[in-house]
Amino acid sequence: MSVRELSYAEAVREALAQAMEADERVFLMGEDIGVYGGAFQVTGDLVHRFGEDRVMDTPIAELGAAGVAVGAALAGSRPVFEFQFSDFATLAMEQIVNQAAKIRFMLGGKVSVPLVMRFPAGSGTGAAAQHSQSLDAWFAHVPGLKVVQPATPHDAKGLLLSAIDDPDPVMVFEHKLLYKMKGEVPEEAYRVPIGKALIRREGRHVTIVATAIMVHRALEAAEILSGEGIDVEVIDLRTLRPLDTQTIIESVKKTTRLACVYEGVKTLGIGAEISAMIAESEAFDYLDAPILRLGGAEAPIPYNPVLEKAAVPQTDGIIASVRRLVTGRI
């Protein structure tokens, strides 16, 4: 089968369509995912292809609707739930954290919850503090959930199909600024494995572990730093839970330096986990410099566009920090 260019949003839509074609248990729930096509036009025309029974507009009722999805999953359906913005998942934390994540365990492994939730996340759209958060680490803190964060159209499709196959609840974080990004996507229904990071660029001097849109900023930074003789390895984490520790450990042993770049608030974020994991591992003895974290500011996302940019890592900042990490120069 052939490979074409699709946008990230189109790749997600194709995965949803192929999953619904292949398995009649799969259906979609969310706010304005039907005739409106989704707030970010991800579901698009799916309601016309699959009907309102399989592309269900819910009332504005995140807690209840998330719970309905949990119940449907428990009873044999395969719901794929779209939050309109990841921020609104805060209204549904009860059903996600207390119920979906724990039901299998609490019932002694007698049931499972094959639920997928999709979260348009991140800043950069001028939507201010309640529509711009990166809360992926919250979910990654909960045993019972799996959390993936595809950075390319290819992975958006492949990881979503793996998530739908998965017998346990999988949270899929999609950065809003990536929806229009184009990339090569095979036509067939392929899978990208959950729990596997990917080395997007090989390098010898420093490892950057990045997530979501930061993968692209890290790659841009790496390109520019290569002109200065700094050879950067970029790892796209892809899955936050379960974490692919081995890929990171091997990389750090090779490069001897580590920077973590992510959009969520820096403190107590994914960078803290990766740093601690390296500190506990055999890679610690290989380190030639302190570990660096670049994350979101210790503040809500502001509306003003200049402040909004300043609140999360940008390419220039990554370049400056990584250069200092490797050379000690500013």
Partner: protein
């Protein structure tokens, strides 16, 4: 001469609304409706020209609901507003130029450029904030009412929300608590038929949001939200009840947003005919015609109100353009009350 007609016993069926407010207050209500309309048209234009970023939700067509609800409120009464909150903000007394400054992301703006359209608020005039979270303001209004009572004030908290918000758990929890504690709250549901693309027929098991009031043992009144008299009279009854310690009320103003949900709406879920039908029921035109018919306003006075509103909006935009950009050094200012994290 105008006062004469209003007091003429021949016009005996003149509604309470026109008797309760003096002519100056009635003209000011029209002025505010125009100000809201022109403000939103101005904001829309600035957005289209790329001067404002993000998104915004316009309330064009819903001005009678905002102004009618706030006309008889005191400065010390609170409101909680929504993502569609420009009208509430102006109706409660905000200065459009400081709102524009906010939209332009300036330090002079009501939220110092941190909030934008979705968080617009003039706290001085009793506005506790627009809200990016549908239903977010409902329990907050109940809390404000609780504080009012603890402080032995006879103020009220007025909570604006949409039909879509009434499907959130927060709506039901808030109404129940307001009712069991008999708090001075007005729940004003601006029912514009849709929560984004989903009609009330598709999202609610009852026909009217007001049908839900009996479940919380409070009055639920339905009014024509495009008729300022209807809105204002219902709100005055409910505020009197609340100030008197008789507890909360729900008022449902049936109205319509002429523009799309936000700037990304393609209007796939409603017809052109429906939009045209509602355009013909313009709340400003209706009120202006009545004021003229009752001799409260002359045509040239109406024209002067329009011209003044336009001038105020134009100068507000200029003021905003000349504002001060915030400094990234202040990124973490105001996260906490004192000092940085």
């Amino acid at each position: 001469m105008t006062q004469a007609i209003k007091e003429n016993p021949a016009v005996s069926n003149l509604r309470d609304f026109y008797r309760h407010f003096d002519n100056a207050a009635l003209r000011d209500a029209l002025r505010r409706m125009y100000l809201i309309r022109r403000f939103e048209e101005g904001a829309e234009e600035a957005y289209t020209r790329g001067l404002i970023h993000g998104t915004m939700h316009l309330s064009i067509g819903q001005e009678a609901s905002a102004v009618g609800s706030c006309m008889d409120l005191r400065k010390t009464d609170y409101i909680t507003s929504t993502h569609r909150g420009h009208g509430h903000c102006i109706a409660k007394g905000a200065d459009p130029k400081l709102m524009f400054a906010e939209f332009f992301g300036k330090e002079e703006g009501y939220c110092r450029g941190r909030g934008g359209s979705m968080h617009i608020a003039d706290v001085e005039s009793g506005n506790l904030g627009a809200n990016g979270i549908v239903g977010g303001g409902l329990p907050i209004a109940v809390g404000a009412a609780l504080a009012i009572r603890k402080q032995k004030r006879d103020d009220v908290a007025v909570c604006f929300f949409g039909d879509g918000a009434s499907n959130e758990g927060a709506f039901h929890e808030a109404l129940n608590m307001a009712a069991i504690w008999k708090l001075p709250v007005l729940f004003i549901c601006e029912n514009n038929k849709y929560g984004m693309s989903v009609s009330t027929e598709r999202s609610m098991a009852v026909k009217h949001v007001a049908d839900r009031a009996p479940a919380y043992n409070m009055p639920g009144e339905i009014v024509d939200g495009n008729r300022i008299e209807d809105v204002s009279e219902a709100v005055m009854r409910a505020t009197a009840r609340a100030r008197n310690g008789d507890g909360p009320s729900l008022i449902e103003t049936k109205t319509y947003r002429i523009r799309g949900h936000s700037k990304s709406d393609r209007n796939r879920y409603r017809t052109k005919e429906e939009i045209e039908e509602w355009k013909a029921r313009d709340p400003i035109g209706h009120f202006e015609a009545n004021l003229e018919a009752f001799g409260i306003l002359r045509k040239d006075e109406a024209e002067a109100i329009r011209t003044a509103a336009e001038a105020e909006i134009a100068s507000g935009v200029e003021f905003a353009k000349g504002g001060t950009d915030p400094s990234p050094a202040d990124l973490t200012r105001d996260v906490y009350t004192k000092g940085a994290a």
